[in-house]
Symmetry: C2
Subunit: 381 residues, 2 copies
């Protein structure tokens, strides 16, 4: 059985990690003293059972107890052992549950712990850039403790007063950066644009809408419950919001909300909503394609009635991935941290407690059960 | 009955036409002397019968004889009377046969002569910028003689040795400019790109492929007969060509022709070919959406299995219309005229003789009967 998989996911550059062992033993001993003589723990895990083409269900994953782990990064490995604090449930992970090797990211390994973004605390380090006690974000595993070999992809978190650590999985993490890069780079927004965001309370969507408001745009979001409609309008500052589940005719609903038409659509769902938006897009409109949450199987055919309008209205549809824009990451962190501290943006988080809650929380993403960014709290600091 | 419709089609700016009548009477008299005492002619026409949503058929049009027309531009009208020499059959005209007013161009008027691009000779002018004997290109009607009120959209043709007048409907006309603007502006081509063109012997496609070759790209075209495959490879200089009607699996056919994948797709057909191309496009590929020739009814749903790849491969799909790029028109004329004179490009034209041949020639566009740009010769100069 594979306990750990170490894949360069392309979300960060792998730094070379020259060996410096001077401080390592000291920290190692300090951590070991907390854990007991042999520095081993029972390491609860969420295992990926096997590939599926449909929408994920809880039984695609399995809680595994009784795995014993040594809290020690092997000498010469450049690895770290971390205690996972927060784990991220992200919709892109569905793609890794399929047995397809033609994507930008490889599939999960059946029998291994699920791999995903997390915030974690270093408990032992063989990497000179990291020491015990450091808080990091990056790719880790769905388990209590992880041995992380690809330390180059880990980001050391500088804690900022008033910003919860878990926000490094959402607002200040990959979803937040996806919103930032997608909005500014793929949408080419202009002040006064009419902006539409689907899955608007999602980890990505909520920031897109708020950035668009700061940019001087008129913003409407779609979501899946009346509660979230209220949150969009009253908490997240969207100009309008709609519950798509209550709309029989999506084209008509969008025409009602955008009598002047849509300039920018940030698409998180694909399918019928994308088609309806094309029908309501203005000349020279821009559509950023970020996700196809509406499709249970990404190979299911999607039907478009309005493709001709992409020509006649000179629409640009742009698929994008955040990791093409990593040069913008420092500016993103600075901008979004500042906006947050200034009270210009807020962030909705849906926190579940305990590793055992992770499978249900992840599955819930695909029926819109979460309200805001879905995070699992595995442990307190 | 409407004999003439005068619509600003947006393909040129309407110049104001201050009245100067000094030379007019002289030319008028000269033309009248050819036509007989009362300067009237019997004016054969092709009439648009009524709206249709399907693929055009000959009976959507009707040859009308016996219409008497005075070859005189009314004083104070700024209009011209022209003798039509060549008329253009273009696929975009199908859109004008539908009763839809939401496009970039209004529908035809039932009972009126079909409107379209033509090359014509001025026989009487009330417009000071034009005089009898001038050769012009622009929007005219499918009839022997036309009264053109919107003279601002007419371009005076400076005849160049070795370039047939009819080329101003193809190579040097709207289709040629569509190819030029679409390739350079919507495709963002780079030297060495793998370029795919559908409907590759069409008025637009054949120039796209040749411009791509000049640009240093590897070019493959698809077409509908083995004869045209040969023309693409041996006459138009494409690197490879395929007959899509002989391919059971379009995705596999493209994978065979582009083992390295496609960087640029110039799409004239939409539908299944577009879907198959997305599957074979490389990361950061660009797709220029120019036409959806494959769709009999532009509202028919098009089914896509590969939309997820637009995201994962960061593909940009860009709908465009040539008239957004009119600032490039002078450069286009200069470049393409030079390439043609240098023998770097050739142009295939499919010429039918006589106005009565126009309906069948137009209908033939939608089953690929034409070989190259479809033109109707109405009269010799």
């Amino acid at each position: 059985m594979h306990l750990f998989t170490f894949t360069n996911l392309g979300f960060g550059s792998v730094r070379s990690c020259p060996k410096r062992h001077s401080f390592r033993t000291l920290f190692n001993l300090r951590e070991q003293s907390k854990m007991g003589k042999d520095s081993t723990v029972e390491n609860k895990q969420v295992i990926f059972k096997g590939y599926t083409d449909g929408s994920p269900v809880e039984t695609d994953m399995e809680l595994k107890l009784g795995n014993v782990m040594k809290l020690e990064a092997p000498q010469g490995s450049n690895a770290v052992v971390v205690k996972n604090l927060y784990l991220s449930c992200d919709t892109y992970m569905r793609g890794r549950m399929r047995d397809r090797h033609d994507s930008y990211i490889p599939p999960f390994l059946p029998g291994s712990a699920i791999e995903g973004y997390g915030v974690a605390k270093v408990v032992d380090s063989d990497c000179p850039d990291l020491k015990s006690g450091d808080i990091v974000s990056g790719i880790t595993n769905w388990e209590e403790y992880s041995l992380i070999q690809n330390t180059g992809q880990l980001k050391k978190i500088q804690q900022v007063d008033g910003i919860p650590l878990s926000y490094h999985l959402g607002l200040l993490g990959m979803p937040g950066f996806t919103a930032y890069a997608g909005f500014y780079e793929a949408c080419a927004p202009k002040k006064g644009d009419y902006v539409y965001v689907s899955a608007a309370t999602s980890a990505v969507g909520q920031l897109v809408g708020q950035l668009a408001k700061i940019h001087g745009c008129y913003v409407v979001g779609s979501t899946s419950t009346s509660q979230k409609v209220e949150l969009l309008k009253n908490k997240l500052g969207f100009d309008e919001a709609l519950n798509y589940k209550e709309e029989l005719d999506l084209e008509a609903a969008l025409a009602r909300h955008f009598p002047q038409g849509i300039d920018v659509y940030f698409d998180n769902v694909g399918g019928a909503m994308l088609d309806a938006t094309i029908a309501n897009t203005r000349n020279h409109g821009r559509i950023a394609l970020c996700g196809i949450l509406s499709q249970n199987n990404r190979n299911d055919p999607q039907s478009f009635r309005n493709m001709f309008s992409v020509i006649s209205k000179r629409i640009t549809m742009k698929g994008f991935l955040q990791n093409d824009f990593l040069h913008l990451y420092p500016r993103f962190l600075e901008d979004v941290t500042r906006y947050y501290k200034q009270g210009k943006i807020v962030y909705l988080e849906d926190m579940n407690d305990g590793l055992e809650s992770a499978p249900a929380a992840f599955v819930g993403l695909f029926s819109g059960k979460n309200v805001g960014k879905q995070v699992i709290r595995v442990a307190s600091e």
